[in-house]
Subunit: 215 residues, 2 copies
């Protein structure tokens, strides 16, 4: 082609710019929390607001682009743990541990993805993360359901059972991880094995205590 701007060059330039903007947004969000303003993000990127809006449409669009990066990274790590060649319990534990290690390593990213507007000292402006955290959990749940359905022999109604379990297990992992990240009541290994024990029916198998009719 010619010496100058072809369409492809323009497109790749735009994509590169988009990546730069996303990285700037990432820095600001990780520094200021989820209530980072569009002005602040634009300033971090060295530009002004309307450019952000030209690239991402609105704040939700920017957020979605930002969340997709992290979400995809987490998902591929989980898939790897889930597909490793080992027996079931080990793989469940590895998957739980991968998730917990991820949220432990980058708690700001995690909080940004899952919790809207942490410290709203001023008004409550902030990324509407709640609306988008559901999609992440849903994706995880569906993904896990697929894996369960295609690997475990559950008899009739297996598909529905697998989906219920997929979402339920993801929710268990998420809630326990959220609580653990806040209080750090035990080591990661302990948490992993406790959760795996739960999934392995230890609650059902345990005996009642001396007092009361038992749980």
């Amino acid at each position: 082609m010619d010496t100058t701007h072809t369409d492809e060059q323009q497109r790749s330039a735009a994509a590169r710019r988009r990546r730069e903007l996303l990285e700037a947004a990432d820095r600001v969000v990780l520094r200021d929390g989820p209530q980072a303003s569009m002005n602040a993000i634009a300033a971090e990127a060295g530009i002004t607001k309307p450019i952000l809006y030209r690239h991402f449409g609105d704040k939700g669009g920017l957020y979605r682009a930002l969340a997709k990066r992290h979400t995809d990274a987490l998902l591929s790590a989980l898939r790897a743990a889930l597909d490793a060649p080992a027996e079931r319990r080990q793989r469940v534990e590895a998957t739980l541990d991968t998730y917990l290690a991820a949220i432990e390593a980058l708690p700001e990213v995690y909080r940004f993805l899952m919790h809207p507007a942490e410290d709203a000292h001023q008004p409550e402006q902030g990324f509407d993360v709640g609306r988008h955290s559901a999609p992440l959990l849903r994706r995880l749940g569906e993904e896990l359901a697929m894996v369960i359905a295609e690997r475990v022999d559950l008899g009739p109604g297996s598909e529905q059972l697998a989906r219920v379990w997929g979402h339920g297990i993801v929710g268990m992992m998420h809630a326990a991880g959220d609580w653990w990240l806040g209080e750090r009541p035990c080591s990661r290994e302990q948490l992993v094995s406790s959760l795996a024990d739960l999934l392995w029916g230890r609650l059902a198998a345990a005996g009642d205590r001396a007092d009361g009719p038992g749980f």
Copy 2:
């Protein structure tokens, strides 16, 4: 004791007013979704903004008061199911069913408690529910942990195990319920028994499918 305003009368009048305001806020939130504005709530109550602020401090205060009502109601229903005299599996199922019945009966309340800013067509102003949904789930998790710890014989480390399980089970129930409420893929009874099966270790007990190394 005069003919008119004693302190107690004033206090009870203030409390009654507060209840009226909360009921108005409830109506607006349930009609307009979580992004209901303070102006709209004040208008519904037949007054103007500053009065709301005198009563509740700020928007978060109003939200907390609003959430506490629903949360307390849900919690007492769950406690009843959890404390019923029956064997463990039946009580687990009854508790799950109570929770699911509650969110099924009043999905708007549920969404308000759990999901921030549903339809932000305008900006993303809305109640910062995410910050407060965590407390609800935490309360549920801790409550369940107490029940488990005092009823089930778990041997050494039982307290930590019970807390992990409490939060994990609550998260499982929450995520599965959220997904079920959105997609309605099966009946409530089916969901309940599927989740109970999961807790009873059916995932661990199931065999591998013909292909692959098994999950």
